[in-house]
Amino acid sequence: MIYLQLFLSFLQIGMFSFGGGYAAMPLIQGQVVTAHNWLTMEEFTDLITISQMTPGPIAVNSATFVGTKIAGTGGALAATLGCILPSCIIVTCIAKLYLKYRNLALLQGILNSLRPAVVALIASAGISILITAFWGSQAEIAFADTNWLLVLIFVVCVVLLQKFKMNPIWVMVLAGVIKTVVSLVVSVF
């Protein structure tokens, strides 16, 4: 039964994520964290972090990660299959139609209206990731509980990315190193 559930959840993710890259992130969060509680928000953020540092699409990486965690290799296969099945059917059909008629206007029209929505959805998922980083997984956000070190690291990272155009992977590694060094220093004193 769990195999079927994994399959169906990732089928939805594969079917409704338009635009690649981070576009799948809000859908994965909706299925895996909100609807089924397969991952905590913290684990989900780790998953996104790991996906950034390894090759492969976020959706496929998540399918493998969640599937393995919930039901072993069989679960990973079921989830991955669910995630790519809609692509297989839809993209093959469109490719067939294209090679026959060579008209993509409607498809691109749909994408033009989806793009702004996808940006908004990514922003919304990004906000939940930051809330988890700054205040932990608990439901309540209290000003006093803010993890100011992580807020500072966040600001430094944004500056490095926007002003100095540093490679995102190095920025993330640097963020991890700063946190580790500060925690080690604090624990020594």
Binding site: F16, D46, T80, N112, L114, I153, V158
Partner: protein, 190 residues
């Protein structure tokens, strides 16, 4: 002779997709560019213009762009057999790597250094997402298209404030896009 050729194409297709998938960091947009380099410029299997349209299909259809790219190239080169070959090549590297990581994840997470690393990287990944969203959002605003800006604002409020299921937001905006395109086409015709 033709069978021999086809086998060779499938083998090359499998190796290329496997290789591209294993070594491409940075998501779908990067991988389709590399696919174009490989299949158009290196192998001369697909014409440049046709490849550009195939890439457009891969980017505008739902699902991971890398997988979609593999499907269009595989289909163009060898039909359904090509699709299956290209997908398997694309899926194997992330599947193996993440399987390995997820087995170690629980043991890793309890280690002090690793957990501090991951916790710092949460702020880092948040910054990467913030920067990506800012650039994409700025692109939409600079487009100066009223409808697009309204869609962006409405989708954000629906998702962030009212926690509307992402699927419904996507369906609604896709429908708006289809209606806009059909209306524009009718205007051109009349």
């Amino acid at each position: 002779m033709i069978m021999e050729n086809r086998k060779k194409i499938l083998m090359k297709l499998f190796i290329s997709t496997l290789y591209l998938s294993a070594f491409t960091f940075g998501g779908g947009y990067v991988i389709v560019t590399l696919m174009k380099k490989k299949f158009v410029d290196e192998y001369h299997w697909i014409e440049e213009n046709e490849m550009l349209d195939l890439v457009a299909i891969a980017q505008s259809a739902p699902g991971p762009i890398a997988v979609n790219g593999a499907i269009v190239v595989g289909y163009k080169l060898a039909g359904m057999t090509g699709v299956v070959t290209a997908i398997i090549g694309t899926i194997i590297p992330p599947f193996l790597i993440i399987s390995l990581i997820s087995v170690c994840y629980n043991a890793f997470r309890d280690n002090f250094i690793v957990s501090q690393m991951l916790s710092g990287m949460q702020a880092g990944v948040g910054a990467v997402i913030a920067s990506v969203t800012y650039e994409m959002g700025a692109g939409i605003v600079h487009g100066k298209n009223g409808v697009s800006m309204c869609i962006m604002a409405a989708a954000f409020i629906a998702s962030c404030v009212f926690h509307v299921n992402v699927v419904f937001v996507v369906i609604a905006c896709g429908l708006i896009g289809a209606l806009r395109t059909l209306a524009a086409e009718r205007r051109v015709k009349s």
